[in-house]
Each structure stands twice: as C-alpha cells, then as structure tokens.
C-alpha cells in the first residue's frame, strides 16, 4: 500500500501541492432483510479505491479512483491538482491548516465475534426466529427484520509524514412490526427504528435478545391501532433514550458542526444558529446540560483512532452546564476560531472528501435519579419512545419529532398509550426547559447509520450516548 500512497503524494507534491493526503479504503458490507418471515434479501458488497486531496495555490482539489495502481495514482493526483487550480480561480481566502504532529499507528475496533466469520445461515436463523414471533401476533400486517455489518480497512498517508492504518467494524440489527387498519398504520421497532448500531462484533447482536422482545413489540403495534391520537397541548415530556438521542443529533450535533456555522453546508443541509461569537456565553440549555463529542468512547459509531485528516480521536466539550462552549471541527476550520482541530473529519468511503461529522455526541448523565426514577418523580407527563419522524429547520432551531409510541405518566406511573405522538419547539427553549437527566445507570449508546450531509451526498455513521431526560412546557400533538 505504501507504494501507492507514496506515489500519489510524490506526484501531487511535484505538481505543486503544498499539502496532500491520500486514503485507501476497502469496505465490506453484508446485509440480511426479512419480511413477514420470508428472507427477502441477502446481500454482500465490496468496494475499494483511493482518494487524493491536495492544496494548490491555496485551494482544495480532490480526485479518486477504484484502480489501485501506481499509474492511476499518478493520474488521480494530477487530476486533483488540476481541479485545485480550477478552484483557485474562484477563492477569496487561502486554505490554512492547523499544525498537528504526524499521525502514525494502527487502530482496530475491538471485536469478540467477527460478524463476517459467523456462518450466514446462523445469522438468518436468528432473525427468522424473531420475525416469526412477531408475525404470529394476531393483527400484525407485516413484519421486517434486518441485520447489517460493515468493515472498513483504511490507510491514510499525508505529505507531512503521517501514516495510519485502521480497521473499523460496525454492526446493527433490529425488528419492526406493522399493524394496519384502514388508513391507520402503526409500527413498533426494537431496539430502535432502523436497528440498533454500534462499533462491535456479532456479540452486540446476540445481546439484543431479538426473539425475546419480538412478541412484545408486535403486540404494542396492534394495541396502538386502538389507542387515541395524542391530544394537542403544552405538557411535561419525558424523552426515552430511544428518542432523546435523535433530539441530540438534530438539535445539538448538527448545529455544532463548524462548517455549517461558516456556511459551507448552506446549499444543502443548511447553516447553524450557533455562531462563533456565541462561544462561552450563549445559554444553550439548563445547568444540567453537558454535551461532549467523544470519539474515544468504546462501542460508538463515531469511535475511531484518527479522523480522515490524521487527527487523533479525542473528547471535545460542546455544551458545559448549559453554556455553548465548542464545535466539531477540522484542521481548516478550527484555526479560524483560534482553536485546534477536534478531529471530526470523516468521509463516506474512498470516493468522497472528508467533511466535519459528528463523532459520538453524548449528553452526559447526571447523578441523582435513573430514568425510571425520573418517570416515578413525574406527576403529570408524557413519555415519548422510539423515534418515528424528524424534521428541523435549516438553522437547527424549529424542530418537530414524532415517536412510535407515547405513554401517559400520572403520579409517577406509566399508563395509557397514545398513537401518532409528536412534539415541537425551538432548540434552545427545549434544552433550557430540561429539569432532570438520568444517571449513569440509564446511560446507553445509540447509533445513527444514515446521517446525510454534503454534496455529493455522504452517509455518516455517528453515535449518541444518552440516559433519558425530562422537559417542561413543551408543545405536543401537532397534526393537521
């Protein structure tokens, strides 16, 4: 591999690049999809290639190819330089990268049971057992069960002498039961809508006990058909970790991406209401609100050794005791606010340029009450569980979420179900209204394997650790 990376870097440098890096990526994926106890699709994919990123005349260029030859390394490096020169005709600020020591070493996701070594028929059988248990529940219209694993082998080299190798394994699985009656369609998922994901081996899937939860979620889907719709009002809400992580993702993770604050995502996903002059002073949330981007936490979808610029994994505070204090950043953006890169640059494969992505953006637990304890402490509230829909404006202020199930909480007891539950608000108003956060015993990691950003579109795998929380005076029950 060093032949190819050296050739690409040498060629780029010889043609005028003041900085160059190259990533060689091989990605393996395997997926199983079962629908109504029938094996609908089993697929395996493999892709490999390399991408060369250069700075020439103060501008970026990037080119990539699937042909792993030194001749192609020459061509791609030359293309990247040519593209950078074209970019340089329309720049107003030259690229300046922060300093960092050359990155060297190897990182491998800890895996107890290699998912790619487990026989396919065993993985299918485990899913089928759970899917059949859901299908057997009276009133279920159709079921869907999924399993997927991804392994990325990545070599990074840069013109500053950096050379790292990483092997990152991600895995996810889950169940979905659908009950339909006329126009009404209700769904329950376990452990999460789209499956629960982590950086781990097959032991993670075994630990889910899919079969043991199948009948329960299917029964809940059927029960929701006859539940009343959630009435409109202003209520105390409790966000179960299966919803709270999406709240963190959309209303904290994305607005703290520094490229959004600088406008470079404006044409696609939007910008951010959190601007650099608000650092250290803006009250984002209540005193209980501590949010950290942590690429070192074991098991997260945003856990790695180095980002795709060779910056070591680290913890970056974003919100401290409610005050906005930090951004997810890169080597180009961090110096513009007088800081060093927080190591958040990742690319979706060899043919995409790295972008600022969430690592694991975690709401830290608070000593005191478990999430169950917070529910027991709530006199009159609504418990929202398992994300179903999500939407937020282009500056990440006005949001609306829907969950698969809402449960009434009266005098500390969980009671009746509501269907089609939604809640809406303004980001900082919601976080300022948070008056209880679950303790470490309730804290768990969740994953978003479908985070979209960038042009051309990239799909990111990011993580979120949360323990459940309570919010006051939130508008609920929005439906036309």
């Amino acid at each position: 591999m060093r032949d190819l990376t050296s050739r690409a870097l040498d060629t780029a440098t010889a043609l005028g690049a003041t900085y160059a890096d190259v990533r060689v990526v091989r990605r393996l994926e395997e997926s199983i999809n079962i629908k109504s106890a029938r094996v609908e699709g089993v697929a395996s994919s493999e892709t490999e290639g390399f991408g060369v990123r250069v700075v020439v005349d103060g501008a970026w260029g990037f080119a990539s190819s699937r042909d792993l030859t030194t001749a192609e390394a020459d061509r791609v490096a030359a293309d990247a330089v040519r593209i950078a020169r074209a970019s340089a005709t329309a720049i107003r600020n030259r690229i300046v990268l922060d300093d960092r020591p050359p990155a060297r070493g190897r990182y491998v996701t800890p895996v107890a049971e290699d998912p790619f070594a487990i026989p396919l028929d065993r993985k299918i059988a485990a899913l089928l057992e759970a899917d059949r248990a859901m299908s057997a529940v009276k009133g279920i219209s159709w079921t869907e069960s999924m399993y997927a694993a991804q392994r990325e082998e990545k070599t990074f080299a840069a013109s500053d002498g950096s050379y790292t190798e990483q092997v990152v394994t991600h895995i996810g699985s889950g169940l979905e039961a659908n009950a339909i009656d006329g126009d009404e369609h209700q769904r329950r998922s376990y452990p999460d809508n789209g499956g629960l994901w982590a950086s781990a081996g097959y032991e993670f899937v075994r630990g889910m006990d899919l079969a043991g939860n199948a009948e329960r979620v299917a029964s809940e889907a059927v029960e929701l058909l006859s539940a009343p719709p959630l009435p409109s009002g202003t209520r105390t809400i409790l966000l179960h970790p299966s919803q709270l992580y999406m709240q963190v993702h959309e209303s904290c993770g994305h607005p703290t991406e520094l490229d959004r604050a600088f406008g470079t995502e404006a044409s696609y996903a939007g910008t951010s209401f959190l601007m650099p002059d608000m650092l250290g002073s803006f009250r984002y949330g209540s005193d209980l609100c501590d949010i950290v981007a942590d690429a070192t936490v074991p098991g997260g979808l945003g856990t790695f050794g180095w980002d795709d610029e060779g910056v070591a994994a680290q913890q970056v505070p974003l919100v401290k005791e409610g005050i906005f204090v930090g951004y997810l950043s890169s080597r180009e953006t961090a110096p513009r606010i007088g800081r060093r890169s927080g190591g958040a640059m990742r690319a979706d494969g060899w043919n995409r340029i790295p972008l600022i992505r969430m690592t694991n953006v975690n709401l830290l637990p608070r000593p005191g009450m478990s999430f169950d304890g917070i529910v027991a402490d709530t006199d009159d509230g609504l418990l929202f569980e398992t994300n179903r829909s999500w939407s937020i404006d282009d500056r990440r202020l006005n949001f609306q979420f829907g969950t698969e199930i809402v449960r009434e909480v009266k005098h500390g007891k969980v009671g009746r179900l509501y269907r089609n539950g939604t809640y809406t608000g303004i980001t900082y108003e919601l976080w300022r209204s948070m008056d209880a956060v679950g303790d470490a015993s309730s804290w768990s990691l969740w994953g978003t394997p479908n985070c979209g950003k960038g042009e051309p579109p990239q799909t990111g795998h990011v993580g979120h650790g949360v323990s459940g929380a309570r919010f006051r005076n939130v508008r609920v029950g929005v439906m036309s």
């Binding site: 060629t11 997926s31 999809n33 029938r38 609908e40 699709g41 089993v42 697929a43 395996s44 994919s45 493999e46 892709t47 490999e48 290639g49 501008a59 990037f62 080119a63 699937r66 061509r75 030359a78 040519r82 593209i83 950078a84 074209a86 970019s87 005709t89 329309a90 720049i91 107003r92 026989p119 396919l120 299918i124 219209s141 659908n178 339909i180 369609h185 600088f262 404006a266 044409s267 939007g270 043919n351 995409r352 340029i353 829909s389 939407s391 937020i392 404006d393 282009d394 202020l397 006005n398 089609n420 939604t422 809406t424 303004i426 042009e455 051309p456 508008r475 929005v478 439906m479 036309s480």
Partner: protein, 461 residues
C-alpha cells in the same frame, strides 16, 4: 506520468459495461446457478461546490458497481463489487452463489425477467456530450457566473455544480442484454443577504452546457434581496402558491409512500384504483423516455420503462411494478425495478406533473391573502399512509395580499397531508422545471392550493 486531460465521459462506455455484465453472468452460469443477472454502472462523477462566494470543494471520482443477483432454484442471493477485473468478478460470483446456497426458498420467486420486456434500445436523449465532456473549468465557470450575479445584488452565493456520466448495462441468463449511457448535471444555489434574506434557484439537465448559471444566479439573488428582513406570521391554514422547487417534494413523497405495487400489496399506500385523491387539475405521469426529464430506457432489471399514468386528472390509475410484484399480480413489469435486493419495492423515478395554463402572475393573482413558498426543507412523513408530512419552508416565503407580494415572512413549519394539498389544487402553472427528485429527475409546474396547514414558525436567532 499519465495525462489528466481525460474527460468525464471517457469511463462511461456502454459496450464495456455490457461485456462486464455478460462476463459476470457467464461466470455465474459456470458456478452452477440456475439464473443470474448482472447490473453494471460505471462512470465518472464530478462536483464543484461554492460557499461564501468562493469555491471550497471540487471533487471527481471514477466509480463502478457490479450488482449480481443469482438464483439456485428459488434461493436468491445478491452480491456487489466495485471491481470489474476477472478476479473481482470471480470473487463476486462466489459470494452471490454462497448466499444463494444458504438462504431459504422464496415460494413465489417469479424468476428473472424475459427478453420480451427488455428495452427496445438506448434512449439517445439520455446522453449529452456537453456533460460527457465537462471539465473542472466548465464547472468553475458556472460557479463564477452565479457568484457574479450574487455580487451584483450585494448578496452571497452558496451552491454546487455537478456533472455525471455513466454507462449502465444489464445482462441476465434469460437473454436480456441492454446498455446505454446517461448524463446528468445539476446547478443549485442558495443566496444570502445581509438582513436574513435568502434565495434559491436550481436547474437539472442531461446537458450541462444548457444550464444558464448566470440566470440562476440572478433568480436566487433577486429572491434573497426580496426576502430580506422577514417578519413573523401567525401559523395557521393559508392558501398558497408553491414554486416548482416545493412541488417536487409533493411528487417525491407520493412516489415514495404510495405509488408502488409493493406499497399497495402491503396496505401501506393511499392508492386505490379509480379513487380520486387529487384535484382534476392534477395529472402525474412517470416516463423514463421523456426527453423533458432525465431519461433512461430501462430499469435495474433491464426491463424497458413504460409510461405510467399515475394520477389521471386526480384519479389513481397506474402503479409502478418490478418483475416480482408484477408476477404476483399476474402481469408484466412496468420497468420500475431498483437494484436488488430491494425490500422497499418498485419506484417511479421519472415523474412529471402535467402543466396547466396559468402564468406565475395568474397564480399569485388568485391569492386574496396567502403565501408564496419557494421550497421545502427537511421534510419527513408523520403519517405515511395518509401522506402527512412535516417540514419547513426555506429560501423565500412571502405574504401575498390582493394578488400582490407584500413582503417576506419568517420560515414556517407545516404538518400537512400532501393528498389534502393536492385535492385543493386551484390552478397549475404552464412553465415547468426539471429538478432532481428523490431518485431521479422530476418535471413540475408551480401550483396554487386552496389551503396549506402551517403549524409553527422559526425564530430570528
């Protein structure tokens, strides 16, 4: 050192792609499978991105995908690879065959499609040398033209200019052999002014040289100027005019949630044959061969694309079928299959809404008090079967009174059944735009709706 002067389209050779597909099918047959189908997509994609009125990202990639579906009797496996060399294809066949050996039988497996359904030939309109020969300099020229227009209005430009050229080929063991080359290009821009004004403009075309970057820049910049200093507006139900950029989302969601045979079979769709779901002014088709859109002659199974009359003057008529859903319904595929495995089902990816007679002034003129919406942002189904969707307005939302634009309002959240919205179509614009939809091109007019439900508003900061 090799030259870097290769154009975008050099890697998009249909004959080469078809040879790779045929070789994969041949190797699969030698491996003892009873059926095999290879989809090959190979080409080059490039994109120039600009923000704060300067280019900040400029990328190109040379990519290939070989997707192989094999069957051993009724046991089906799928594997894909980015490699097209002999060793890569051998490994691909091995993986697909191993999957097929381990999965359970599909009782209703209908087999791969026959050549009878294959495309009559490539769609010439799917390719343009203007995009196939696109260079980084062409894209930079486009970016500079948008930026110049923004500069002239005193606003800042953000956006992207993409050019893609690909060869697509499908071969299967039943005799389908089809290939064509396709190009697409898209220029979009968001502009921002000093007083929270924002604008948007977009164009998609098979031919990148037909995109008028300067005109798009002027359109977006003017919209940003007009939308400066937006004011709060009480959410509620308002009649609206939706610009084409917003209408594309209506069609996307209908296609995604309801216009496929599998969605109907699973009872998750609103669709019922002969049922009125929209105003008589609404006719929606899907036509892969329509040169007005982003054409393609065949689907991922190599089946010729048929024109579908999805909504005929507001009434449900056709549905999208692939080979498996068609067999279950006792009919032929309409050429709307996606790459296997595809648990979501067939998809109409070349949708168009028929134009009406109204000018833009007619549409606005019909609003006594209502809103003009430029586009939607981050939409998501809240109740899929009723096509209830939530999202935000973006890049220019204007209050209209007495048929005239009064001024900009702050972006609003809506939670609205798109079926209810389409049932209230009062007028349809005569000018259509081809824009990028969820999976393909989408050609739409602007429309005026009797009512649209806004359920919230964003804040200034």
């Amino acid at each position: 050192m090799s030259s870097s002067s290769r154009t975008l389209g050099a890697a998009a050779d249909p004959e080469t792609a078809l040879r790779v597909a045929e070789e994969a099918v041949r190797l699969a047959a030698r491996a003892g499978v009873s059926e095999a189908e290879a989809l090959v997509v190979a080409g080059e994609s490039a994109l120039t991105r600009f923000a704060n009125s300067e280019i900040h990202q400029n990328v190109a990639s040379n990519e290939a995908l070989v997707n192989l579906r094999v069957a051993r009797g009724r046991r089906v496996g799928v594997a894909s690879t980015g490699r097209t060399d002999a060793e890569g294809l051998r490994a691909l066949v091995e993986r697909a065959a191993a999957i097929a050996a381990h999965v359970e039988e599909l009782e209703d497996w209908a087999g791969l499609p026959d050549p009878d359904g294959a495309a009559p030939g490539p769609v010439p309109a799917a390719w343009s040398d203007g995009t196939g020969g696109a260079t980084p300099e062409l894209r930079a020229d486009g970016a500079r033209a948008v930026i110049a227009a923004a500069d002239a209005e005193g606003v800042t430009a953000f956006g992207s200019f993409s050019t893609d050229a690909e060869a697509v080929a499908v071969a299967n063991s039943r005799g389908i052999r089809t290939a064509e080359r396709r190009t697409t290009s898209q220029l979009l821009t968001v502009t921002m002014g000093p007083d929270n004004g924002t604008g948007y403009a977009e164009d998609c075309s098979v031919d990148a040289t037909r995109i008028d970057a300067a005109a798009l820049g002027r359109e977006a910049a003017e919209r940003a100027r007009l939308s400066a200093s937006p004011v709060d507006l009480e959410p509620g139900d308002y009649p609206v005019v939706l610009n084409q950029y917003a209408v594309v989302d209506l069609l996307d969601m209908l296609g995604y949630l309801g216009l496929s045979a599998l969605a109907v079979a699973e009872d998750r769709s609103f669709w019922e044959a002969g049922k009125r779901v929209a105003s008589p002014l609404v006719t929606i088709t899907d036509d892969g061969r329509d040169p007005a859109g982003l054409p393609m002659g065949f689907d991922a199974e190599g089946v010729a694309k048929q024109r579908l009359l999805l909504l005929d003057r507001g009434v449900c008529r056709d549905l999208a079928f692939d080979t498996q859903t068609a067999a279950r319904a006792g009919r032929r595929s309409t050429g709307h299959g996606l790459p296997a495995p595809n648990p979501w089902g067939p998809f109409p990816i070349n949708m168009a809404m028929a134009p009406g007679e109204a000018t833009f002034e007619d549409l606005i003129g019909g609003l006594d008090r209502g809103l003009l919406v430029t586009r939607f942002h981050y939409t998501n189904p809240v109740h899929p079967k009723r096509v209830v969707v939530t999202g935000m307005t973006r890049d220019g939302t204007f209050l209209v009174e007495g048929g005239r634009i009064v001024g900009p309002v702050r972006n609003l959240r809506f939670t609205m059944s798109y079926l209810d919205a389409l049932a209230g179509v009062e007028a349809v614009g005569r000018e259509r735009r081809t824009l990028r939809g969820m999976l393909g091109g989408c050609t739409v007019p602007a429309v005026r709706l009797a009512s649209f439900g806004f359920t919230g508003a964003t804040r200034a900061g």
